[in-house]
């Protein structure tokens, strides 16, 4: 049995949630659906733990799906970079499912509740698939599995606010255009090389710097994935989708889906095209870097003026993507380490923050900033969790946010671009503004008349505090995360000198 698991570990990682999802349809009871999803996500998480463990001991794992050898067959290829991403997705999924029940009961229509768990499992499967696959077309299929379930999950928020429907449909249109762009790019690459296997592609297109088809493919793929990542000017779908989706969906999306897309983008930029590709170097310096900087500032400033805290955090997510993009655009091993660790760290902090907001939504039926007055006294644990998550977002020492920021600043010094370090710190000061607006209202505003102390249920507090504790733990003991992140950076840059 154990041999079977280890041997087929990469496939099980995707297949377990994929097979588990339709089972719920056979017996559509909310309690069963939740229990089943809980079992599945925790199993997936355990499997991902095994996977990370395996990757530490060997450089990468290659798994031929159905026994067909690559490059013709589909290869699952796991190295430190995607093991990290898979662990993020599986871990967050497990915690989110644990957290979800009360919140879903409150926010989603009764008969739709079992379906939510189906969608969640499908989404988990799709996201893990995107991360694990070594085949460019297979990536598209998984991307669409996760995206389709995401659109539907966002629309589940329609019971609370009908704007969820329009948000979902806008997201669907943008997302589909992005995915189609990506497919066009892959098609063009296939035209030139006749292969879809990423490792094989990397070998085949090396030295094809001046081939216009490859350049066009590069552009299509970058824009396509950029839409999924929500790179600054392509982010317009994100704030509404995050704001009007049910709280649980927002937690899951904010912590995982953009992260997976960032990973896919890095995989293409650094493994498939490789930094020796001149065209890419130019676009990194003249396209990605300016966009990263704009992304660090403009959404942060917008966030500072939001009245809905959920929306505020959504804009902050766009801004955080700016940091990741900055690390990508510097394209050194130090900067990719910073980006990889920020993928992980940002998932921790945003999940904790949105979980706190979900609890607030459950109790107060609102996340408008003025309605949060005095929650420091009526919901002390939730508010403390939010405050700690917020400090992590700002990047205060002893939290994960600080580790990310330090590595990123260090990487910009090492790339001889100290002015970037200045920009990073200035933009994180804007984070101080928007986080502190919330904290101040929560703690130092009087409690409105008639509101009694009503803390969130334990089933929500525990996962939230697990994440808050992780924010602090991984901010202090960084041995595992930094090691994994630097392995990830090496794996991504594998072919580079």
């Amino acid at each position: 049995m154990l041999d079977f698991v280890t041997e087929h570990l990469p496939a099980l990682q995707v297949v377990v949630p994929l097979i588990a999802a339709p089972v719920i349809l056979l017996y559509q009871k909310e309690a069963f659906a939740w229990g089943w999803a809980l079992l599945t996500t925790w199993t997936t998480f355990a499997l991902s733990g095994l996977l990370v463990h395996e990757v530490f001991s060997q450089e990468f794992i290659s798994y031929d799906l159905g026994g067909w050898a690559p490059p013709l067959g589909i290869e699952y290829r796991v190295d430190a970079a995607n093991a990290l991403v898979i662990a993020i997705v599986a871990g967050i999924a497990a915690l989110v499912t644990t957290y979800a029940r009360k919140s879903i009961q409150a926010e989603v229509q009764g008969r739709n509740q079992p379906f939510f768990y189906v969608l969640l499992l499908l989404c988990v499967s799709g996201l893990i698939g995107v991360a694990i696959t070594g085949d460019a077309f297979n990536l598209f299929v998984f991307l669409e599995i996760s995206s389709l379930s995401t659109y539907t999950m966002v629309a589940l928020g329609g019971r609370r606010d009908r704007r969820a429907y329009t948000a979902a449909i806008r997201y669907l249109i943008t997302g589909t255009i992005g995915a189609t762009f990506y497919v066009i790019g892959v098609g063009l690459l296939y035209m030139v090389t006749g292969t879809l296997n990423m490792a094989d592609l990397a070998v085949s297109i090396a030295g094809m710097d001046n081939n216009t088809t490859v350049q066009a493919a590069f552009a299509f793929i970058v824009i396509g994935l950029g839409l999924k990542v929500a790179i600054f000017p392509l982010h317009l779908w994100l704030p509404n989708a995050y704001t009007y989706a049910p709280s649980v969906v927002t937690i899951f999306l904010a912590a995982t889906s953009t992260k997976v897309a960032v990973y896919a983008l890095m995989r293409f930029l650094f493994t498939v095209f490789g930094i020796r590709f001149d065209f890419e170097l130019d676009s990194l310096a003249f396209l990605f870097l300016p966009l990263a900087i704009m992304g660090m500032f403009i959404p942060s400033i917008v966030a500072a003026f939001q009245v809905d805290v959920k929306r505020l955090l959504a804009y902050s997510s766009v801004a955080q993507i700016g940091y990741m993009l900055l690390g990508i655009s510097l394209a050194t091993s130090a900067s990719l380490t910073a980006t990889s660790i920020h993928l992980f760290n940002h998932a921790l902090m945003k999940a904790a923050l949105f979980m706190a907001l979900g609890a607030v939504m459950l109790r107060l039926k609102s996340t408008i900033i003025d309605d949060l007055a005095g929650i420091g006294k009526t919901m002390p644990w939730t508010t403390a969790g939010f405050a700690l998550g917020g400090l992590s977002l700002i990047g205060v020492p002893l939290t994960v946010g600080f580790v990310s920021k330090w590595l990123l600043i260090q990487a910009s010094f090492a790339s001889q671009q100290p002015w970037l370090a200045g920009l990073i710190v200035v933009s994180s000061l804007i984070a101080v503004v928007y986080v502190w607006r919330v904290v101040e209202v929560a703690y130092f505003s009087p409690v409105p008349e008639g509101r009694v102390r009503q803390e969130a249920p334990l089933s929500m507090l525990i996962p939230m505090w697990v994440l808050v504790a992780a924010n602090i733990y991984f901010g202090i003991d960084t041995d595992i995360t930094i090691r994994l992140a630097s392995l990830a950076a090496e794996a991504l840059l594998g072919g580079a000198p």
Partner: protein, 492 residues
């Protein structure tokens, strides 16, 4: 008796345990305040054991863990830090006694939060004092900022929130915006952040960039209140007076200038700074801050605001001492940390005592109060004289040392600045005392003040601590030399 090494470790754990216990006993005020006092006493005793062990050479570095590869959180003792930790933990006892009187006297709300944050603040001050490298120092510097924010916003009024916002905004933006960059830059060029005697930058950085790096450090250390980043300190005065007394006269601001001294001595190195002349501009800026804030202090009628500007001015004495980049300057600055701490905490405690007894905050309303509050005003006079720098009070020595340092380096202008500033000190501090003692009480005896129809002295809890610290000012005059000799060890 526990051994010194254990005591060293315990110095960081005691405040943490104290904070937790205070939080747990929050429901019973008596128990909570007993816990506070006991924690303070144990911490002070513990620090004394460490001190004793350090003199005997029994204490070695503690490395906690590495957050960033090859930069550990580590603690080590050197003379200045030892003095600073002793000072902060010792005054915490007096301040705790005072807090109990003050907070109960005013029926403040959220007292549990107050005591918890206070314990965390003192704990991080101790950690700053013992930090073995710049990274550790930075980490606890931020913890100190965060833990004092709730203390400043304590009253939860619109005014308190606004003050706290400025406080937090300036401290966090300077520290993240400048100090963090400076720290990373230092690490990139020198490959280490450990505090070393001759500095770690010598020969590793382009000399034209040196003043820039120094500026990032000096403005980054917002807690040293160098102009133009001084405005947080007057704003912090919305806090209850015990906070102003211990944190904004001793722990927080002294953590700032302490960091300034550490950076000049152990990061840049005194010799390196004096040969390159990179700190020239800092000297002038410090001189400007000294004079300008003294002048502003004279215009303030609110007693705490006046004391706040006085603090800004006095802090720049220490920065000036660092900027002179001679060993005498450093010693003068270090001595001034101690001397000013005793003087200023006395003044603030007296201000608080006046508020508790009579709810008066404006100097112009304090006519004749000295006659009904002789102990309070007496202590205030002693504190004021020490700040001015008159013998036989401690403040005399540190000013004297700074003067000598200025003379040694040929900076006659700086000597002039110090003298003018002393005159200004007289001008803004002594009238308060004169008004209290020699002007008659207004008709009706100050209508707001009476509970029982009579004017009265502040509660005992609020009088004993300032009297003790005033007495401390006197003792420091006599025992200044051992301290000076001990501090001088930091330069050898």
């Amino acid at each position: 008796m526990i051994d010194a090494q254990t005591a060293f470790l315990a110095a960081f754990i005691i405040p943490a345990i104290g904070a937790v216990l205070i939080a747990l006993t929050g429901k019973s005020p008596n128990l909570r305040e007993t816990v506070t006092l006991i924690t303070a006493i144990i911490l002070f005793a513990d620090i004394l054991i460490v001190f004793h062990g350090y003199l005997a050479g029994d204490v070695s570095e503690i490395i906690v863990l590495e957050i960033i590869p090859s930069i550990p959180i580590a603690f080590e003792i050197e003379p200045l830090g030892m003095i600073f930790a002793t000072l902060a933990s010792g005054l915490w006892i007096l301040n705790s006694i005072y807090s109990i009187g003050y907070m109960r006297g005013n029926n403040e709300e959220n007292q549990t939060r107050f005591y918890v944050c206070f314990a965390i603040a003192i704990g991080s001050t101790v950690a700053i004092a013992f930090a073995a490298n710049m990274f550790t120092l930075f980490v606890f510097y931020e913890v100190l900022t965060l833990s004092t924010y709730p203390l400043v916003a304590h009253k939860e009024t619109e005014e308190a929130r606004r003050g706290a916002r400025v406080y937090f905004g300036i401290l966090i933006s300077t520290s993240i915006g400048f100090l963090l960059v400076a720290v990373v830059w230092t690490w990139i060029v020198s490959g280490t952040l450990d505090f070393e005697l001759r500095g770690i930058l010598s020969g590793k950085i382009d000399e034209p960039l040196l003043p820039l790096l120094l500026a990032l450090y000096m403005f980054g250390i917002g807690k040293a209140a160098l102009m133009p980043f001084h405005r947080w300190l007057p704003n912090a005065m919305v806090a209850p007076t015990p906070v102003s007394a211990l944190l904004h006269a001793v722990a927080v601001v002294k953590a700032g200038v302490f960091t300034v001294l550490k950076v000049t001595v152990y990061i840049f190195g005194v010799d390196f700074l004096s040969t390159t002349g990179a700190s020239q501009w800092l000297m002038w800026l410090a001189a400007f801050t000294i004079l300008a804030s003294s002048l502003i202090a004279m215009t303030k009628d609110n007693l705490k605001a006046r004391l706040a500007y006085s603090t800004i001015s006095q802090l720049s004495y220490i920065t000036l001492g660092a900027a002179l980049a001679t060993s005498m300057g450093i010693i003068g600055g270090a001595l001034h940390i101690v001397m000013h701490a005793f003087g200023k905490i006395t003044l603030f405690m007296c201000a608080g005592a006046i508020y508790v007894a009579h709810h008066k905050t404006e100097i112009s309303d304090m006519k004749g109060l000295g006659r009904v509050m002789p102990w309070t005003f007496g202590a205030f006079l002693v504190g004021a004289l020490s700040i001015i720098g008159l013998p036989p009070l401690g403040g005399a020595w540190s000013k004297f040392a700074l003067m000598i340092a200025a003379a040694d380096t040929g900076q006659l202008v700086m000597m002039g600045v110090l003298m003018v500033s002393s005159v200004l000190n007289v001008a803004y501090l002594l009238p308060i005392v004169f008004r209290g003692f020699f002007q008659p009480l207004p008709e009706g005896g100050g209508a707001t003040s009476l509970n029982d129809g009579k004017l009265h002295e502040a509660p005992l809890f609020c009088i004993i601590p300032p009297v003790l610290t005033a007495f401390g000012c006197l003792l420091l005059f006599i025992y200044a030399d051992p301290i000076r000799i001990f501090i001088a060890l930091m330069l050898e």
